[in-house]
Every structure is written in structure tokens, then in C-alpha cells.
């Protein structure tokens, strides 16, 4: 097996003390970046980029990759503990993770997030080893119509499986799509919905919205019902997942690993979308879909495995084609170019030691992360014992700092605060936030894909059904909308009545 002999060469490079050191530094910084809301991996990579000019290229890339997947590990921590996603990729983790923490099960939630990430990292490593070159070629077949169909069906699935009213979920999703259209029109270049406010030209930032929607709204809700504080302080049940937790989580972890890895190979899909899809899929095939959102460990395991696997998946087009899949991988590519390496179709052949070395280092880094994160769980859980008055002030502070630091923009603070109130109202009136976030993620991509498709087809909508890949997704989306009318019932029906009661 050529792949294995190459991998051994890779490990011998990665195991060099200096590279081990930079790998550790990378994952450590990554965890930190993940824990701090707002400061995302893209910002961290761009801050670190200049410093890597002074260390050997290989060590530099090992460190930058470490930040990338380390951030996914850390991002779940604040989602679970205080309902603020450290990264948009951990937004879904809030739903069940935070519910678990409120039941005193923050430890197992954090534990399964760490183990799930590790297992996902391992699985996707093998994916990288065997499939990288083949898969990236397949991803090229995704043109504008395929993207549009993929995004549409994704959005429809999330709406279909929303808790409570499907109409409410659609309304929230539509709101998200409208928000996504703020900024510059992708085809005509005109500005839309900005009312003369220049910072809005770039649209509303996803991370800013997510911080407000989950973080600030949670503080507002809790200010209202401060009596429940004893939940945190009295019961903290166990620090590690139990055997039953493992039984519940292992197949979601494996499934989500594959899902995350394969989805992320398609440029543009990145890390956030697979987490939504894996969570929704888990809910769909679960025997008790109605319990999702109330503190189910599968609800943490699935998205956390998905985001780690997806982070690896995004690297496939980077190394095998030289194509960035999102902001973070664009920076990584930039670094490779500065080092004088030529990322592109011939990269793996030209620099096998480099490529396999980075892969090997990622495996070592994943192991380091597990060792780094497990002992921390005890400390994190104690954080929940901080009195409300202090904890919530801190959460607000982090939300403010976090939203500012994304784009160094004061207007983002206002947007974040506004969405804190929006999130509060949504929760008050039983609207789900998930379709809003997903719609905001996919909205701009969907619009661009739609309009490009229309340019390709000169205005004919049949293009979505003429191409096989997009036809499959479109049919799936249609089934989601039409089936409730036909069967007058949809999955998780019990919960709708529960929500009313």
C-alpha cells in the first residue's frame, strides 16, 4: 500500500520534537479560539499568519491546521455551558448541550463532544488518506444548479423537522433568507436594504447574529426567571459519559463523521451546514425525535462529530486541487503560497512528505486535544457554580467583545444586541431559531446559485431537473413540502401538540 508507506514517512516528519511543539501550540491556541465566542478560526489564522513566516513552512502549516481543528473542539464548550456558540459550527450543539448542562449533565456533554470529535477526526483521517484525490474531482461536478438544489433540500429538511409548527419554522426561515439578502446584489452590484449604513454593505455577519440569538437571548430569558438558579448549583451528575451515553452516541458519531466529511468536500459547504444536517438526520431516524432539544446526548454527539469531520473534509479540495472551501482554508492556501509551495492538482505528488506529514500531525493533534480537553471538563463544569449575577454579566461581556472582534466593527455590536432581543421574542413565542440560522447561512449561497443557474439556463427553471444530481435534491425538497399535505401528519407530530399544551 503506497498510502501507508507514505503515511509512515509523514509520521516520521510529524513526530519531530519541533513539529510536535508547533502542533501542540496550534491545537492549544485553537481550543482557546474556540472557547472565546466571536474570535473565530479565520481571525486567529490571519493573526498567526505573519508569525509563521519565521518558522519552517512545515511547522507553520502544522500549527495553522492545529488551530483549525482545535477551534472545533473548543467551540462546543461555551455552547454547552452558557448557550453561546464559540463558533457557528457549534450553534446546533447549544440545543441539547445547554439543555444537558441545565440538568446537571454538562460533564457527559463535554465528554461526548471531546470523544466524538476524536472519533470523527480518526475516521476522516482515513477518508483523507484513501479518498482525497478521487473525491475532490467529484466535488467539481457541483455547479450552480447542484448547489441551489442541495441548499434548498437542506433548508426544507430542517423546516420539516422543526419542533412545533412547520408554518412558524417556514416564517423564521423566510426571515433568515431576507436577512441574507442584505448587502450587495451579487449580479447587478446594487446595494439592498442598507438604508445608507455602509457597514451593512457586507451583509449581516452570521457569527454576530448567532451570538445574539443564542447568548444574549438566554441572558434575557434568565433575568426573567432567576429563581431556577439552584439547578446549576445543586446537582452535577458525573463528569464523563456513562455506558448508556456511549450506547446512545456511538452510531450517531460514526454516521455524522461520514456525513460531515463528505459534505464538507463540496467547496462552500464548509463546517456549519453539515452540523445542521447531521442533527436533523439524527432526529429523523431517532426513535424519540420529540425529545431532541431537551438534553439528549445524541444531539450533542452528532453535530460535534460532524463539525470535526467537516473540518478535515474541507482540507481535501485544498490539498488535492488547491481550491479553498471557505475563509479558513483560503488563509491556509495563502500560507502555502507564501512558503513557495504550489497547492494545486500536482501538490500531493510533488510534495508527498509535506502532505502526509500534515495528515500525520493532524492525527497526533487530535490525540493531544483529547488529552488536553478531558482534564479541563472538571474545571469547566465548576464554572457553572458562579453566581448568576456574575455569570450573566460575564456572558454579556463576552458577547459584546466577541461580536466586535469579528470584524472590528461597532455596528456589529448593535446588530448582535438587536438579535438578542429577536432571539428572546422567538423563544417566548415558540419559534425555533435553527431555521433562522441555517437560512442565514445558506441564503446568500442559495441566491447566488439560483441566479447563476438562471444565467446558465437563460431563465428556465427546468435546469434544476435536467441535471441528475440537482434533480435528486429538488425532488427531496418537494417531498418535504408536499408530504404533510398528503398525510396530514409529519414526523414528531406528538411534539406539536405537546408544544401547544
Amino acid at each position: 500500500m503506497e498510502a501507508f508507506s507514505n503515511l509512515i514517512i509523514g509520521f516520521s516528519a510529524a513526530i519531530q520534537p519541533v513539529n510536535l511543539f508547533y502542533c501542540f501550540l496550534g491545537v492549544f491556541l485553537g481550543t482557546l479560539v474556540g472557547v472565546l465566542p466571536g474570535l473565530g478560526p479565520a481571525a486567529a489564522l490571519s493573526l498567526l499568519l505573519p508569525t509563521t513566516f519565521y518558522i519552517p513552512p512545515f511547522s507553520g502549516i502544522v500549527m495553522l491546521c492545529g488551530v483549525l481543528y482545535g477551534a472545533q473542539y473548543g467551540g462546543s464548550t461555551t455552547s454547552i455551558l452558557v448557550n453561546i456558540p464559540g463558533e457557528p459550527g457549534s450553534a446546533v450543539t447549544c440545543l441539547d448541550g445547554y439543555a444537558m448542562a441545565r440538568e446537571g449533565r454538562a460533564g457527559p456533554a463535554l465528554g461526548i463532544a471531546a470523544f466524538g470529535s476524536f472519533i470523527a477526526g480518526t475516521i476522516s483521517l482515513f477518508g483523507l488518506i484513501f479518498l482525497a484525490p478521487v473525491l475532490s474531482e467529484a466535488a467539481l461536478r457541483f455547479g450552480p444548479p447542484e448547489y441551489f438544489a442541495l441548499m434548498t433540500s437542506g433548508l426544507m429538511i430542517v423546516i420539516y423537522l422543526a419542533r412545533g409548527s412547520m408554518v412558524k419554522a417556514m416564517m423564521v426561515a423566510a426571515f433568515g433568507l431576507i436577512l441574507g439578502s442584505i448587502g450587495i446584489d451579487p449580479v447587478t452590484g446594487r446595494t439592498r436594504f442598507i438604508y445608507g449604513i455602509v457597514p451593512l454593505m457586507s451583509g449581516v455577519n452570521l457569527a454576530v447574529v448567532v451570538i445574539g440569538l443564542f447568548g444574549v437571548s438566554e441572558v434575557l430569558l434568565n433575568v426573567e426567571k432567576r429563581l431556577k438558579q439552584e439547578i446549576y448549583t445543586t446537582k452535577i451528575k458525573g463528569l464523563l459519559p456513562t455506558l448508556q451515553d456511549w450506547k446512545d452516541s456511538i452510531s450517531p458519531i460514526i454516521r455524522s463523521s461520514f456525513l460531515g466529511f463528505f459534505m464538507a468536500i463540496i467547496p462552500g459547504v464548509s463546517v456549519t451546514i453539515p452540523t445542521f444536517v447531521s442533527y436533523t438526520l439524527q432526529k429523523k431516524i431517532s426513535k424519540h425525535p420529540e425529545k431532541f432539544g431537551t438534553g439528549l446526548i445524541e444531539g450533542v454527539a452528532a453535530p460535534e462529530a460532524a463539525n470535526n469531520a467537516a473540518q478535515c473534509g474541507t482540507l481535501v479540495p485544498v490539498f488535492s486541487l488547491g481550491i479553498p472551501t471557505g475563509a479558513t482554508t483560503a488563509i491556509l492556501l495563502g500560507a502555502l503560497i507564501i512558503y513557495g509551495l504550489n497547492p494545486g492538482p500536482s501538490f500531493i505528488k510533488e510534495s508527498p512528505q509535506f502532505f502526509w506529514g500534515v495528515i500525520a500531525s493532524m492525527y497526533l493533534g487530535n490525540a493531544m486535544l483529547l488529552m488536553l480537553n478531558l482534564p479541563l471538563i472538571g474545571i469547566w463544569v465548576k464554572m457553572l457554580k458562579i453566581p448568576y449575577a456574575i455569570l450573566f454579566s460575564l456572558i454579556l461581556l463576552f458577547c459584546l467583545v466577541g461580536s466586535y472582534s469579528i470584524n472590528n466593527s461597532v455596528s456589529d455590536i448593535f446588530i448582535m444586541t438587536a438579535f438578542g432581543f429577536v432571539g428572546y421574542l422567538l423563544k417566548k413565542f415558540n419559534y425555533e431559531q435553527v431555521p433562522l440560522v441555517l437560512a442565514l447561512v445558506v441564503g446568500p449561497m442559495m441566491e447566488r446559485a439560483l441566479r447563476r443557474s438562471m444565467i446558465m439556463s437563460k431563465g428556465s427553471f427546468f435546469i434544476f431537473f435536467q441535471r441528475p444530481i440537482s434533480a435528486v435534491f429538488m425532488v427531496l425538497a418537494l417531498v418535504m413540502i408536499i408530504s404533510p399535505f398528503l398525510f396530514k401528519k409529519r414526523l414528531g407530530e406528538e411534539l406539536i401538540s405537546e408544544g401547544k399544551g
Binding site: 452590484g189 446595494t191 495563502g334 472590528n408 447563476r452
Partner: protein, 325 residues
Amino acid sequence: MKLKILSIFSLGLLLTVGLNSTIYPQGFPNKEIQMIVPYPPGGGTDILFRIIAEELTKMFRVPVNVLNKVGGSGVVGTSSILSAKPDGYTVLGTTITPLTFVPSVNTKVPYNAARDFYSLGLIAHQQKILVVKSDSEFKSLEDVINMAKKKPRELTCGTSGKGADSYFALQQLNKAAKVNITFMPFEGGGETITNLLGGHISMSFSNFGAVEPYTKVDRLRVLAVTGEGRVASNPNVPTFSERGYPQVDVKMSYLVMAPKGLPLAIIDAWKKALKAVMESPKVTSAGEKLDFVIDLQTDSEKVGLYLKEQLEKYSKLAADIGIRE
């Protein structure tokens, strides 16, 4: 003995600091400098300015920090220096796109680059290329034009959004060759190349640096390059004017701009520093790798005139094709 060495050393340090202040009067710079780059981190423009900022840090002996203020084709970051103090501590490192290309399409842009900013230096430029897939039927620019004449609106060209350099290059070609190649907007170079490789668009306007990994393994083919002459690194690629279309001449420029009203001494300090930095081996080798032709012009009046000309030229083109608003 040790003490003596130490005191000599600190004296030397003091002297250099003193010397420093004679080079850069009024103690400029005595705090950190912010260089706003209106593009996302990791792209070619960002990398170029980060390397320049590194070298400037050595030159000025204060940190020169790159701050990415992204959005609106660069307009968001560019307008943010409108309100900055003209003290030399806030500058803008940008392409010409938000300065002239975008305003020629969108008249609501809240500044006029030649009037509202002071140009510290035009530092580099980059030529655009027309590129197709290697297995496409187009072997030359003529093939493309002939097909476009035969099947109007059938061919698609991936470029950045309306008002981008690559967009104007396509419109110049459409106008010069009297053809109608449909423009398809993409978010950036990476996305355009993905779609070109996947066969979802017929061609794209790009630059040599971005396509080099693919031309090397024969997956993309460059048909023509804009500008006055052939490029040294790719002597086989003909220019548009050689092929009879001298009107296709879009060139990307890279500039360092400052708010209007800088004190003369600070202007001098900046220009001196830029001059030294642009000649440094790190910047020149980075320029080669990233496909920038380093070409420093610090005559602000000339650069201002250039910006004015460019704005007029592309405003006229935008008005001709009916996209100016």
C-alpha cells in the same frame, strides 16, 4: 565590565532612537500603526499587504498591524478611513477596485478617491488573463470570438461581481469584438476556478498567479493577457492588442492611501519607508510568487491623476453598457 557594556549598549539604543526621530520628525511613529485592508485574510491582496506590513514594522520600529475590514467589494474598509485622523497612524492598503472600479458603477459610494484621499504610493500592478479549460475547443482568442459570434449569449465568462476588474475586462472584450459573452458573477478567484474546472462556465478572467498550478498540469489554458506587452514569466501568451483588441487593457493596481491632510513630514516618512520596503528582498520575492509587478510611484499628484482618469474611463464604459447608477 558588564555594566560598562550595558551602558554603552543602552547609549547606542538611545542614539538609534534619537536618530530615528531625526529620520521621522515629530517622533513619528511613536505608537502602533493600523493598515486597513478591505479584503478578507488569506487572499493575494491581504498576503501582499501583510508582508509589506511586516517590513514596515522593521522600518518604523513600531508594530504595523493589518486590520481586515471586509465587505462591499472593498468599499466598507475604504470608507472607514474617511473618518480616520490624518496623522499617519491609519492607512489603507488596497487594490484599485474600491477606489475607481466600484465607484464607476455605483455612484452612491461615499467618497471620491482622487479628491478625498491622499495617495502615499501606487506600489504594484497585475495584468489580467483570459483562461479556458485545457480540453475545451478554444485554442486561441479567435476561437472564442468566432464561437461567440456564432452563438450570441451562449458562452459564459466567470468574473467577480459587477464593477470588478475582471468584469470590466470582459465588457471591454465584448465591446471591442462586438460579441455578447454572458457574465456570471462569482465571489472570488477560487470559486471561479472551481467552476471553470468543473465545466460550468466557458471561460474566466483571472491572473497568472491564480492559474499557474493548473496550467502547469495542463488543466487550464491561457489565451491572452491584458497590458502593453507579453509577460516575462509566460512569454508564449499573446497580448490582447497583438490579437487586434488593444481596448482590452484592464490592469489591477495596488495602492497605499491615507486620509487627506497629512502633515508634510509624515508624508515624507511614509514615502521613504515605502520606498525601502518595496525594494526589500522579502517583498520582491513575494511579489514574484504572488504575480504582482512591483512598480512604486510615490508622486501623489500623478497617482491622483491616474485615479481620476481611471474613474472617468470606467464610468464611461459602465454608462455605455447601462450598468451605472
